[in-house]
């Protein structure tokens, strides 16, 4: 058993944080240690989200924490928001995903594209955890290319009728509302994409758990099917328009993922250091062997670089100058880094590293999803390639 986690901070990055930012980090860190870690292994093995913790997460303000106080949110800056994601994912990527979806992909689009009535109606209920949301963008045949989606919304005299299917939807089967993206015009016209707030109990709406996941097992992932789902006019997010709108949401979530990945890597590093010092082989702790020291040195180096990337990215976001491409760089680097750290930690732990009582393999398996979702590693490579050369490799 590793000692209590006190953070990884080789470069005194804590001194670059404000007192409130550190206090926010401490609350989430303690909560993860005391409330999530005791139950996460069973959740992971049994394949369910720790739903009983949702009210506490809401009460502590984990949902939409960077949105304004007038909507029942904490009104934190983006660095503090990032630190929440880091600490949540130190616990488990599935738990961070839950908060990312609720805040970055459900509350953010309502805040950004919603009417005043929609904001006052939905945001406080989502912040308090009274309602859970999910985000329906990806389709079975349209993942990296969301502009090609075939879900449609047809306008009727008193609202809209939606038809289509969405896949890989986090929180899909637990959600009370879904933010569904659909084409309101021609099927080859991505500029006609609009967002809708769809109650999941609407007739014609079904959500089915996706079975057989070997990653993010403590998170619900579902397929949504919409057959002639009728919603009122007030379901449309009036300021949404074109594929750019859902991509703006993804920028929010990817920002949180860049931070979250650092948390998962920290958990693995922390466990590897502790295990390496305790585990004796050839009459000495395995941490005394150069091969293991090289592993640990590499982990610490990469984590430190990832922390600094996130912090500066957060400061840019708070200043209002952050670009989606900068987010791509951080998401791409940090998730890849975390995948490597988790794998090396698992290897350092030897045979014990495959057991659920150690966290490395759980993080390692989770991070494969994180590597793939919210823009695959490869897509972020191409986004950066386009940014550098001015030439898109995918469009």
């Amino acid at each position: 058993m590793a000692p209590r986690f006190e953070g990884v901070d080789f470069y005194d990055i804590g001194s670059l944080l404000s007192e409130e930012e550190r206090a926010v980090r401490q609350t989430v860190r303690d909560w993860i240690e005391e409330r999530l870690l005791p139950v996460i292994n069973d959740c992971y093995v049994e394949g369910h989200f720790p739903t009983e913790l949702i009210p506490e997460m809401a009460r502590l303000g984990f949902f939409g924490a960077n949105l304004p106080e007038e909507y029942g949110c904490a009104g934190l800056n983006n660095v503090a928001y990032g630190l929440i994601m880091q600490e949540l994912e130190r616990g488990d990527s599935g738990v961070r995903s839950f908060a990312s979806v609720q805040g970055g992909l459900v509350m953010y689009p309502i805040f950004q594209f919603g009417s005043a009535e929609q904001k006052t109606h939905w945001l406080p209920r989502l912040a308090s955890g009274e309602l859970i949301g999910c985000f329906g963008l990806t389709e079975p045949d349209y993942g990296s290319n969301p502009g090609g989606m075939i879900t449609t919304a047809k306008e009727t005299k008193d609202g809209w009728v939606l038809n289509g299917a969405k896949m890989w939807i986090t929180n899909g089967s637990t959600a009370d509302i879904a933010i569904v993206w659909a084409k309101t015009g021609a099927i080859d016209d991505p500029t006609s994409i609009r967002g809708f707030v769809v109650p999941t109990d609407a007739p014609g709406f079904t959500a089915k758990d996706q079975k057989g996941k070997l990653s993010l097992r403590a998170s619900d992932t579902s397929e949504l099917v919409l057959v002639d789902v009728k919603v009122g006019r007030d379901a449309l997010l009036p300021k949404s328009g074109g594929v750019k709108s859902p991509l703006m949401c993804l920028t929010q979530a990817r920002y949180g993922i860049a931070w979250g990945a650092v948390g998962a890597a920290m958990a693995c590093y922390h466990e590897a250091v502790s295990y390496g010092k305790q585990r004796v082989m050839f009459n000495k702790p395995i941490a005394s062997f150069q091969l293991q020291q090289a592993r640990l040195a590499q982990m610490l180096t990469e984590i430190t670089k990832g922390q600094l990337l996130c912090l500066q990215l957060g400061r840019l976001k708070d200043k209002g100058t952050m670009t989606p491409q900068q987010v791509s760089l951080a998401k791409r680097n940090n998730v890849d880094m975390a995948c490597e750290v988790a794998r090396e930690a698992r290897r350092l732990l030897g045979a014990n590293g495959i057991l659920v009582e150690y966290s490395a393999m759980r993080h390692m398996a989770n991070l494969e999803s994180v590597y793939t979702y919210e823009g695959t590693h490869d897509m972020h490579t191409l986004i950066l390639g386009e940014e550098i050369t001015g030439i898109s490799a995918f469009e």
Binding site: P3, R4, E6, E19, E20, A23, V24, Q26, T27, D30, W31, R59, L60, G61, F62, A65, E69, A74, G75, L76, A80, I84
Partner: protein
């Protein structure tokens, strides 16, 4: 219901402390400081009492250096209404000097209850709470694990060696709080933001010459390495013999 909670900034219980060059204090470099864990029970109790009453004020009072403001803000983030910092360069080792400064601050405050943690985890003296009660001429109940208040009186349970003692007391009173009294809340994110706007009053304090001084500080000796007595059933009798004669634990 007006409640004062006296809190202390202490090194994190997980911190690996080092003795400073002067031999009588700890080296604070790189040490994280926290709100004394027993004080969290006191604060939680105060917050719950105020919430149940639907009105009142919870004031946190601490004595310490400027950095203790951060400890006050932790308490404000948990829900206290305002803070008072009795500012000094270093907290005197003499608990009575601390108690006199606190009592001076508390005496005209009109508090119904003054709550402390049963001890501060840095010096583990258990002293300041009862001393403050004495200086204020108030009843004192220490190491409270259960509390009931009614009108101007109260009933508290104390855990004593091997049993429970139930005591009645009149308010106002000074109580020191023990683990088990409640489950302290986490500072919520909204609370952390709200704490920035709550008032903290800083007042310099001076002390009389101390009659009590720390002579030296030292860390406990390193624990001796374990020893494997043998393997399998054959080793059991030797293990039992050593547990009896050498370790003397059975």
């Amino acid at each position: 219901m007006k409640i004062a909670v006296c809190i202390k900034r202490v090194p994190d219980t997980e911190a690996r402390v080092k003795v400073a060059g002067d031999g009588v204090s700890i080296d604070e470099a790189g040490v994280k400081f926290i709100l004394n864990p027993y004080d969290e029970y006191a604060l939680e109790e105060a917050l719950q009492r105020k919430e149940q009453a639907g009105a009142g004020e919870v004031v946190v009072v601490t004595l310490g250096p400027e950095a203790a403001q951060e400890t006050i803000r932790t308490a404000l983030a948990m829900g206290a209404d305002r803070g008072v910092l009795l500012k000094c360069d270093a907290i005197p080792a003499d608990g009575l000097a601390v108690a006199k400064a606190l009592a001076g601050e508390l005496k005209d405050g009109g508090y119904d209850l003054v709550l402390f943690g049963k001890l501060a985890v840095d010096d583990a003296n258990h002293a300041v709470g009862p001393m403050v009660a004495e200086l204020l001429g108030l009843p004192c109940v220490t190491a409270v694990v259960k509390l009931e208040l009614e009108g101007g009186t109260g009933t508290a349970e104390r855990e004593t060696e091997g049993g429970v003692e139930v005591v009645d007391f009149a308010q106002p009173a000074v109580l020191t709080c023990e683990k088990g009294l409640n489950t302290p809340r986490y500072p919520a994110l909204k609370g952390i933001m709200a704490a920035k706007k709550k008032p903290i009053e800083a007042k310099p304090v001076a002390f009389e010459a101390g009659r009590y001084a720390v002579q030296s500080l030292s860390l406990p000796p390193d624990r001796k390495e374990g020893r494997i007595v043998g393997e399998g059933l054959g080793a059991v009798s030797e293990l039992v013999r050593l547990l009896r004669t050498e370790a003397k634990v059975i």
